[in-house]
Amino acid sequence: MNLPHRHQRGVAVVIGSGSVKCAAALGLVNVLNRAGIAIDMLVGCSAGCLYATMLAAGRSTAEAAEMTRQLWTSTITDQHNRRAWLKAAFPRLFGFDARFGLRDDRLVMERLNAAFGDARIEAMPTPLFLTATDFANGNQAVFSSGRAVDAIRASIAVPFLFSPWPIDGRLYIDGYMSDPLPVGVAMREGAEVIVAMGFDSPYQEHISNAGRFAFQVSAILSNNLLKSQFAFHGLAHHAEIIPIIPEFKQRIRMFDIEKIPYIIEEGERAADAQLPYLSRLLDAQAAVTAGGAA
């Protein structure tokens, strides 16, 4: 059910990287919906792209949660890409190249296509921006047009796991590599009030194999990048960035889809805590706008 919007101006919602934890954004959107606060634009990074796209397409939060259960299961990483292993072991013999990924991505592509088909970013009812990272130079890439499936696949191309994804002749990898919480995109697009939901990458409890070692290194880098980028944007933005950081008391692993209700609940709790201020801020802005127009 769509409630009438209580506030004239809405907010930009930025959903950072965080695998299944990004479902907390559905809790945030539930809170905004209940308060009658419109979403003017959505920005997504990595798994946050899935939710940003579902919401921008007009899916309800319940539908989005159900889609996640269908899409984001551990089976998407079950299939090894045998040729990639051979390329890693014998690079000259098997022709190692930039499209390296140790997991077969056919299942994830099948599911993304089933979920989003040929939907295009520029045709979404709510303006949508999806971020990835240019594999050639590390620059952030922002997709505001084109096939949503391509941008999502690019943005979830976790290094070593899924191969970089080609779009218009360039290769892209996971958006978290350039900015795990891309509030800068919302700033650039003119957002005045940015509600940013970000997540720390979990550190490994035990470093028992090379994969866990790689994830630990990646978590250290991405958590430090998250801090530095967020600090820069917070100080650079003239208006307001409201960070919403859910606190998960349970450990959430990459594919813990059975914990989605709990994740959404924590997202709601974190958003509820900031709602009184957000409402006051939007009311104050509306008063300034009305005063200026009078």
Partner: protein, 114 residues
């Protein structure tokens, strides 16, 4: 947001209650700047009743820290509550500000060699 000023061992203690955000950050910055202009360059922000800070609040805190340091003093934080500490940590502020578990320790820290 409510501000309460007091003196403890020659240090100005600024008790901040409520939320430092886009609606209140300018007030905080003005109050802190006034104190620094009056020569009170060694300040402790008592954050025990501070329950939220947004990006605007962070900018004002950072501005106050820079101003105090430019005048040979410092603004140090005390008794930061976990939700605020998470935002400060996420924003990298815990790496550039000095913070202490309580006001007394923060006040005493000014007596220690820098």
């Amino acid at each position: 947001m409510e501000i309460e000023l007091s003196l403890s061992g020659g240090i100005t203690v600024v008790g901040i209650r409520g939320s430092v955000d886009g609606l209140t950050a300018d007030d905080l910055m003005r109050i802190l700047s006034d104190r620094v202009s009056e020569g009170a360059v060694r300040l402790v922000a008592d954050c025990s009743a501070l329950d939220y800070t947004s990006s605007a609040g962070l900018r004002s805190l950072l501005g106050a820290v820079k101003l105090a340091r430019q005048h040979g003093g410092d603004l140090r934080l005390a008794a930061i509550q976990p939700p605020v500490l998470r935002v400060l940590d996420l924003s990298g502020f815990t790496g550039i500000l000095k913070y202490y578990p309580d006001v007394e320790t923060a006040v005493v820290s000014f007596a220690e060699p820098a």
